[in-house]
Symmetry: C2
Subunit: 373 residues, 2 copies
């Protein structure tokens, strides 16, 4: 089927670009001698996962237990759940392990560690300790006294194995240039290696030393001492990554197909049928590119920028595109289809339940997604 026959709005992914993005990241990580454990919170799709683990050890990262269950159901067993666990989620984690998952769970505190140690049942949990490398979201500082205390609870538990440390260089998103990203990558690596060394120095096991964000995976200069990197959005990239110089324009694999449903000439705007739900309310790229709005319009086939147009406002099912040249109404008549590059692939994709996979203007496949929790 041709792309322009699809009902709109619809989520479109370009298979050749996804494949190229994954191959490039895989080659880059291989050149640095570090394993790639792709974070599938972006794609949430078994078909993307299959591409992303090709040639790798096969491990994946997820952000929800729903993702873990979905990927397990598709044959992916080596799964790191990279969001801090709480007692209430241990039964579900144990159930996944009983069904064959080689699941790694994460904690940064003694309460959760004690809950793991006290959990009743046959499960033997594999546990990573989360380290804050400067992201200031979650995790223990590498020099925190609690690091050893949490590790000893896990290591001493009859039902748990301490498997290592994990950090996320999310502060790379605060960097204002590539040098800032390189600095965040250094901090990410130094922090998590420092934590690993403290554990090992205390006689504790630490086989896994896990780091990762897409910016630090792209611009980092050394991954020595790390056992794996966990970038996520690199499979698709997006305008925010482009604005940060983390990818090139031709690497943008994800777009939203939309129809022109209105010409509101009396206020100077074209109206699309892609609004807050199809695009999301994420406007992250605007911090660097204020004219991005909720997404940049592209030509349906060439994916080239479309007269510099962008979605400036959204309501639930409407996207408003300001127009200052009357000729554009003729170029984009009612019913015309456009593609919209989103700010943030992870958040935009989450509004959709499937990907329409294209090669050029041909739809060649449909990939599913797991949403929810």
């Amino acid at each position: 089927m041709e792309l322009d026959r699809l009902t709109t709005p619809a989520l479109i992914v370009d298979r050749a670009i996804v494949t190229r993005n994954i191959e490039r990241m895989g080659a880059r990580m291989a050149a640095h001698g570090v394993a790639l454990r792709p974070h599938l919170k972006t794609a949430k799709s078994a078909q993307v996962a299959a591409l992303a683990v090709a040639g790798q050890a096969g491990g994946i990262t997820v952000s929800t237990l729903a993702e873990a269950a979905y990927f397990l159901g598709h044959g992916f067993c080596d799964i790191t759940y990279a969001v801090g666990i709480v007692a209430g989620k241990l039964p579900a984690a144990a159930d996944l392990m009983a069904r064959g998952a080689d699941l790694k769970i994460l904690t940064d505190n003694m309460d959760a560690a004690r809950a793991i140690a006290a959990f009743e049942g046959p499960a033997r949990f594999k546990v990573l300790i989360e380290i804050d490398c400067g992201d200031a979201r979650t995790g223990l500082l590498p020099d925190s006294p609690q690091l050893i205390a949490v590790a000893r609870i896990i290591d001493g538990a009859h039902n748990a194995a301490l498997c290592g440390v994990l950090t996320h260089g999310g502060h790379s998103y605060l960097a204002t240039d590539i040098e800032g990203i390189k600095q965040a990558a250094r901090e990410e690596r130094t922090a998590v290696i420092g934590a690993a060394q403290r554990l090992r120095g205390a006689g504790l096991p630490c086989p896994i030393v896990s780091a990762g964000s897409t910016p630090t995976a792209i611009h980092g200069e050394s991954y020595e001492g790390l056992s794996e990197m966990r970038p996520g959005v690199f499979v698709f990239f997006d305008l925010d990554q482009l604005a940060r110089e983390v990818c090139r324009r031709e690497d943008l694999a994800l777009s939203v197909l939309a129809s022109v449903i209105g010409h509101n000439r009396h206020v100077g705007q074209i109206v699309l049928d892609a609004g807050a739900l199809a695009l999301s309310k994420d406007i992250s790229a605007n911090a660097r590119w204020p004219q991005t709005g909720y997404g940049a319009l592209c030509d349906l086939h060439s994916m080239q920028p479309l007269y510099g147009l962008h979605v400036a406002k959204v309501s639930q099912e409407h996207g408003i595109v300001p127009v200052n040249d009357d000729a554009l109404y003729d170029r984009l008549p009612i019913g015309a289809k456009v593609r919209i590059l989103p700010n943030h692939a992870c958040i935009t994709a989450a509004g959709h339940d499937r990907y329409h996979v294209v090669e050029g203007a041909k739809i060649v496949d449909e990939w599913d997604r797991v949403n929810g929790w």
Copy 2:
């Protein structure tokens, strides 16, 4: 089951509040002698629809054809699809009618009107013309020369019936106070009645004169001359509606249940497992209440504000709650559950596939939702 046993994050709706909100809106519309055609883009749930049409004529409003198909499947036949149609969606609309839907479609332009008239097949489309009453999103101005031209295309088509005019007083969201909302309601009513009078003056039929937004349905002073109102978010309300003085705090029916998954004492924050996907990136209430962030924390059971805490930052699965009193870490230990009032119910609910329905702290039901397109 008790609420605190649910896996988090989860979408919670309080049945007693929804029922009361609907009854109050129904009584208000009845007192004004205008039919309520609830806009189900907010709830997207057959169970909410059943409550919302009780005692009404039974008509509903939807924002997508996926909603139309879902509600038709649940026995709701009288459906207005209140987003402008394009040629590519006519086959799906015709299919819905063939399956029994009394579907009304919408247009504001001659291209779509001509596409309707030219559509081949047995379908007989019921068409409303969209009027811009000041919202400046979509629709023809009531005095537009095109109004009569579009109407004549529809009225002259062998396969279409002109059913009236429809407007959305969305500019009520630009009002800075209740008087401003009243003014928007006057403009909404005046514009759509004016358009109806022009059609009737030209000898064209106009049985339906449809208006509506929640603010104008709550604060409007007259609905005379309108045949129906189409508010949507009133079923749940949210912090944005509260900040606009469109509801009371006790009318907020929707919340997101979340667990405390981290205490990041070195930066002064509690971390929740509800982030950008569970809450959405909608921050609309912040225009009036800058301390709302991505949502306000409430006590699990009482729904009273929780120490004035709010979610200040989100990443995909993390919500960051700034804390400036160390005692709060003890009051909200790891694993504790809280409820978060969202900014915008329509957008937050769209991240979830079901509602966990509570009465007090007891889960009494589960309601489904239709997402996507």
